[in-house]
Amino acid sequence: MTRVLVVDDSLSVARQLEKIISESGDFTCVGHAKNGAEAIRMNHTENPDIICMDMNMPGMDGLTALRTLSVMDKDVKVVMVTSLGGVGDKFTEALKLGAKNVISKPFGADDVLRILREL
């Protein structure tokens, strides 16, 4: 099973992601962090293979956490989750920082699993 950490301040989005991941059969959700700082901590304790992380969160946002993770852990694959529709400076920056892909909100199970399986 591929281990996935969900990072989103939105309870409803996190719940949806966790449900999609846990019902997929080939992924398992190892936890839910509510901001970038928690994500960095949980990356250390839970050792996920993939992190699905919201870009726009209060406290440490997704891009700042991605910047840190890209230096601290070269193995973890980070997929950003955003409502920005695939354009804009944040999207470009995420890709430059090594994000493997971007999931656009709102998403369906097919979109999420297709992106995770392509990693």
Partner: protein
């Protein structure tokens, strides 16, 4: 009297019953196929094609037909044929009421005239702001995009009301806000009733019922709905060369007496009247 749909008006006038309206609406739903349904009925596309297109539509402000052509699933000629068929076969509520025996042709004409007269004062101004802000096309795009997301995410028919300047934000069941910052600065707020909050929650969670969901999840779905709209606004603004960042959504607490709009901001309310009689209020506070 407020902004009404014709069927709702007839029920309130006592001309037809709620059951009569329901029968007519059911007939409309059977006859008025959506573009995707029509294309599937004609064997041009599959259910999977529609699902993929709908998912893509949530993050792209593009019509389903154009998206299907972009993806090579329909030819431009097939799309045109579908649109003509859809238009020619559309059953309006008045005609549906006649076909289900709730109205006669004569009474339909009479009631349409009186309905038009009562609704004239609510005729929308389009999405024009009542005063100029210097970035009118941008803010008008916000209004248009919010309407689009009501259609595409909530799958609700709606009718835009008249945009008005305001000095006080009135309380409602819930208000969710987002800050838009960059080349322009504004606060985007949506104000919803309890019923609309549940409608939004059902759509955002893809659940049939949200009756047992905790209040924090219901609130969160409205904030996320605002987030989805503002993300699309920022993306579209970016395509037009306007840099706009969005901050995380939050809930606005409004005291019973209302919340004065901040100094130095042009403040507007834009009611979007929904088919079920509810209203989504979009409030824009635009820094001058």
């Amino acid at each position: 009297m407020a902004v009404k749909f014709f069927g709702q008006y007839l029920v309130e006038q006592g001309t037809i019953t709620m059951d009569g309206l329901r029968n007519a609406v059911e007939l409309q739903e059977k006859r008025n196929l959506k573009l995707g349904e029509l294309a599937m009925e004609m064997g041009l596309i599959s259910v999977a094609d529609i699902q993929l297109a709908h998912n893509e539509q949530m993050t792209r402000d593009v019509k389903l037909g154009d998206l299907l052509v972009d993806r090579g699933l329909l030819s431009p000629a097939q799309l045109n044929d579908l649109l003509v068929r859809q238009k020619n076969n559309h059953l309006y509520i008045g005609e549906a009421l006649i076909q289900t025996g709730a109205l006669t042709e004569t009474s339909l004409r009479e009631h349409l005239e009186s309905f038009s007269a009562t609704q004239a004062i609510y005729a929308p101004t389009g999405t024009r702001l009542p005063i100029t802000t210097g970035n009118d096309p941008l803010w008008e795009m916000c209004l248009d995009l919010t309407c689009s997301m009501v259609t595409r995410v909530l799958d609700l028919k709606h009718r835009p009301g008249t945009c008005m300047p305001i000095t006080t934000i009135h309380p409602n069941h819930m208000l969710a806000a987002m800050e838009l910052q960059g080349d322009v600065t504004a606060r985007f707020i949506i104000s919803v009733s309890e019923k609309l909050q549940k409608t939004i929650a059902r759509a955002m969670l893809s659940e049939w019922s949200v009756e047992h969901e905790p209040a924090e999840i219901l609130e969160d779905t409205v904030r996320e709905f605002a987030n989805v709209i503002c993300g699309n606004i920022a993306a579209k603004a970016s395509q037009a060369g306007v840099v706009m960042d969005i901050l995380p959504p939050y809930t606005v607490q409004v005291p019973p007496a209302g919340l004065p709009t901040p100094d130095g901001y042009g403040s507007f309310i834009f009611p979007i009247h929904l088919e079920d009689g509810d209203t989504l209020e979009l409030i824009l506070l635009i820094q001058e």
